[in-house]
Symmetry: D2
Subunit: 418 residues, 4 copies
């Protein structure tokens, strides 16, 4: 099977939109051009489980230019852009298995379809490929030389796996690159989550109380942008250091139990499960809006909400109205899936540029270095990371200083005094 | 003719979305309920030229509840939500003449269709009804008792008309109400313009240079929100006081001629014409994005851009790529029309709540008081304005202080000393 | 008596500090130079009741250069900079009557001393000269041709006086100039109030809850800067429109009664009396800090605080520790007087530049036009106001746009369409 | 010699101000109380080279309570608060050697005086004790069991020393604790640097262009607060990752050479040397203000400025006016020493609370564990760090969430799916 997508006729529209993304990804473009010359991924099969968006398409182009054969399935049932899937299948010969809104069964079948190519490298966003592989017999995938992982959530899972000694091949934690998590998680998730909430609801954020659960890099991005739109932001956290930072950044910090009574809009972005649950739903104000920007749709306890409700209707695209037994209404956005992909377009190309430059260069690194690596989770090599930052600044026309010789000496000396 | 709309079958979807807006417009809801009892608009015909959105639908409901017969045409060819138009025609019996994307000829024919009802009251957003009426013989509309006007742009035009002694009936400048322009223009235009730009482009605003032309209430809303998204904002202005305020608010202020060379995203929001013109386009960076958030599509000199270009294509919905003769590209959003309505949904219901409360109460005021009014442009009576603010706070669950007797005395005294 | 000041030997230090202020007041400098040539205040005696600061000194120089004889007393017992008073007396021959920390009796005696010159013009900051004059027989001051008033507080008092028909001569409300209240009240009071609080306490504002009473121009300046320092800001208001604005600007709004329980730092800036009173003090947290940035020291009900306390000590300069009967402590800053003058240096020269340009040009206007003016409170003529804005921008090296002919036409036309 | 201070009679004033600081350091207070009971520092001599401020006094009290004998000298010639020095000598029996404004010779003599006690532990802020010790014969200080270091600058020097294999005893890098550098460097330096600049100049920051050199934790604190005061902020950096972050945080980023021409206020905060030098001074605007917030006064090349100038005068406390040969003036604040200590009071007690809790607990840790430590630079143990965060939140009355059992399981699992 070459592909399983919505409609191959959407390819032309997809191609235009991919052009738009590509124009906004100058770092990846430089890599694309080098890969085309050097072919570092020649003879490799790469299976990717990523959000099927215009930016991912630009990464697919780079991998292809590097010489790889590529299969792609979705890392989230709601995040596929069907026109992009069509263009990748029609114009680039990628094996695409992904349809927006596919059910769980088809979602997992698509993962199988991608793995059917017997990849040497896996590229994950949430560890679904790796998890699937690790549930099977080891002999099935003996040819894998390594993998990459895009998200915090996935990295947490993989480190758990490695800790138990069960990880079968080396993984590069792309998420740990500074040019990834400092930018994608903070500025990308920040903007696109707010974008997703506004597209879904057209709610005025100025003057509204927004509760952000989790103050990691993603959470502080969301909090910062909600504040930037004029919202009154409350943060809930479990880590005392992050809670202190949130406080000193000017946010009110309180347990979710207390925040539940005060918020108008709630966003979970923790990487953990059941952050907002039954006891919180029952204390919410009439009209409360709940959304998730964490990787999996378990951060909101939707089964509990279903149980508490006497009715439910879709009142707008991506907005489900739940009517509690006492008549209060709670609005769930995007079925609790990543709101920035469900109702918006995911991270802007400008941040994905760096994240996917890390992916492409990590794949190249695995191709070259896999023999030197153990069954562990590795960071992206610092040289790759800094180089991406330098290329990005250059593409933005921004110049920075360099240390003078005197300054370099000063930093490595201990004798220069007061 | 009862209506001229895209498709009456969209009515059901429209009705759900209108319910969403209505839920978010608590002040208008109170007025709706009072109007239903008191019927202050009984026997009146009202012609409205407004953006045909879910919020406008809630206003239509209130006018209808007040006893009026209502016709509605669009105040902008791109801002109509076709499902809303369908629902208004199908469920509420409004005479709707409006199709998203209609050409200029049909646009003006729709204005004629609305005026065919021989209204007693006109309700304008940009003065198109009033302008049309004033181009005709006076005898055709001798029954008009007054009108209301929603925008700055319209009020400027009407005051010009009144100054020349040519205004034929009293106008209430709804825009001048504090509960309108302080909120709708600033927080509404601010959020929805950023929303429109992001929906059209998915551009990362963090780190981007955004040029805002005009620092009136709308302009400062746009600047504030762009800054809130992490952009570096430049303001251009003609008024020295506003330019000073922009400076002290932390923005760089410079003439558009200079800003043209530095910006990545440009937004005009001045109420005037040809703010960005040929000489500015030619000095822009490759990839510059231009958008308009002012009422009319004359703020960007699009004919000049056409002339400077050797090619043009629609690369995404609402994004036209113009290729200049030297190969640089400029991206025009939403054909230069109000970007917050073209690619987004216009002001959030929460601000339109107050703007349209002013419209409804101004219509009631005209009905009662028109005999006492001259052929002038009037403000909204202060009592109406303050009352709307009070109702709004109440609906948000916010309590404020009241002056003690001692405090009232103190304010009216001149003898209490240092 | 030529002067009554702390110590004439402080003159040299004062002169240097005045030079610093003068360097930062480019608009006033231009006026100074024109006045020196044109001598528009020749033969006039001007009595000034202003904060005796370096910036006021620069204004005194301009008045003197214009040909006036000038007397100066303080408009607040704590705001005098003794070195400035010394320099004005020693180097410029101003009749100065002002000592930092003077008691109420001496304060009023100093007002008398200033009025002893029999001024033709009064220049007030809080209306103390005008009030004193109006308490006396009219014959004593028959030669007065007009006055100016600097503050909101004073203008409120004078309008009350005018309303009762008791105002004896025309007053220019300098505060109403846009180049005054939009800048001085907002950016000047904002920065200097935060400065005053930090100097007095060295309190970390990041993460602290700051309550701002009043959301006029001064209040929003204070709120904006407190937020800019990382504080969580609560606003209390009596005006529903301002309360709504504060809400949409992202602040929590609540009655002072409720805010009293939550705040760590309180600032009153209302122009009214007893904003924070006994019932509020008793509900405050241990360690609460209270300060006033409004003109008079009546906004905090200090007598009530005294009554509630079992002890009191000065724990730092400008910080009095009150020990309530249950052991909780409340810290009163600067004895409840204008905190930005008590523990800091008042408005920065850069804003006073515009405020005092308005004062100087208003004095000139009174000299020329007083025969055409009635016993009313007048605004600063718009031409003066705009001109000051233009000069200020120029001094900052900021250029702005001017309307093209086409744009001017467009604004005055009503026929140009959609 | 028991002490060498300005004036022992200042002790009473110092004691009151120390009380104020102590009240604002609740975490240190808890440690003080435990130390008093447990006496973990019994029989130890500790030499401290720290800024002699009210907050340091509270740390001295805790060390003393723990059973230590303590000597204290200044870590910067301008940062001593003479009343605090007096109180420590008079009331607490600390061996204090420190006078505000002491010259370099006396400064180093004071370091000698402190070391004369033959300490077992050194406590540094800038590594001056360690440096002095390492310049001497090893036999002189054979009894030292360990040291602590407060700043980034010091840690850089000590790591250089350790790298060369020359470090003679273990050092705890207090600066590396998250409860130190994430708070003290960012929020503490941020607020107090702005405070220092405003106290020195009373300059309006709204609308001013402020150049921040260095975007480490301190630099981003300064940039954030300057922006919060309404300034237009430019950042210069050498690290591409930090430069990108600054860009996406909304600042303009450019080399200092270019920024030199645009800035009005410059702050260096890099930990390196000669950041702003001759070639930059000559291109600055007339009236430019330069200040340093980095540890040593080498960040501004003051000798170069002296050479470029034809004259110099002190125009205000902490403001030296340099007149360049072409008549332009540059204003140097606080002689280029740490501006937040020179003209303000250093970090607020609320942040020093955590920094000094780390110092006290690190001293205790050295006392207990020194036998297990090598001649290396160690971080603060994570358990100490987290515990301090928890105590701090508690003291602020802020509650946070804890993970449910289900959530803990989820985080350590890799099998739970999409």
């Amino acid at each position: 099977m070459k592909y399983d997508i919505k409609d191959i006729k959407l390819a032309k529209k997809g191609a235009l939109r991919i052009e738009w993304a590509r124009n906004n990804m100058p770092v990846l473009k430089l890599i694309f051009e080098r890969f085309k010359k050097e072919r570092p991924l020649k003879n490799l099969k790469i299976a990717c489980c990523l959000h099927v968006t215009t930016e991912t398409a630009a990464l697919m182009e780079a991998l292809k230019a590097g010489g790889a054969t590529v299969a792609l399935c979705a890392s989230n049932p709601l995040s596929t852009q069907d026109d992009v899937a069509a263009s990748l299948a029609a114009h680039l010969g990628i094996l695409v298995f992904s349809v927006k809104g596919e059910d769980t069964k088809r979602y997992y079948r698509h993962i199988e379809s991608a793995l059917a190519m017997k990849p040497e490298i896996t590229m994950d966003d949430g560890a679904d490929l790796v998890s699937t592989i690790h549930r099977r017999s080891q002999t099935l995938h003996g040819n894998i030389i390594g993998g990459t992982e895009e998200t915090t959530t996935g990295v947490i899972r993989l480190k758990a796996l490695a800790k138990e000694g069960k990880l079968r091949y080396p993984i590069i934690a792309v998420n740990d690159a500074q040019t990834k998590h400092l930018f994608d998680n903070r500025y990308g998730t920040g903007q696109s989550t707010i974008d997703g909430i506004i597209r879904a609801t057209n709610k005025l954020l100025a003057g509204a109380t927004v509760v952000v659960c989790g103050y990691g890099w993603c959470g502080r991005g969301v909090a910062m942008r909600a504040k930037g739109m004029g919202a009154k932001v409350i943060v809930s956290e479990v880590d005392p250091l992050r809670a202190l930072e949130a406080t000193m950044d000017g946010y009110r910090v309180m347990p979710i139990n207390e925040a539940a009574r005060q918020g108008e809009v709630f966003v979970t972005v923790t990487g953990d499960t059941h952050i907002i649950r039954g006891r919180h739903f029952v204390s919410m104000k009439d009209g409360a809006i709940i959304a998730n920007a964490g990787h999996f749709n378990v951060e909101l306890d939707i089964p509990a909400l279903e149980k508490l409700s006497r009715g439910k209707k879709r009142i707008r695209d991506f907005v489900d109205e739940y009517i509690l037994k006492d008549g209060r209404k709670i609005y769930l956005l995007g079925e609790g899936r990543l709101i920035n992909l469900a109702s918006a377009e995911g991270h802007p190309a400008q941040v994905m540029d760096m994240s996917f430059a890390n992916q492409a260069l990590s794949a190249e690194y695995l191709a070259k270095m896999h023999r030197t690596l153990g069954r562990k989770v590795y960071g992206v090599p610092e040289a790759i990371d800094k180089n991406i930052a330098r290329l990005k600044l250059k593409s933005m026309g921004i110049k920075i200083d360099t240390l003078t010789k005197e300054q370099r000496n000063y930093l490595s000396s201990w004798e220069l005094g007061t």
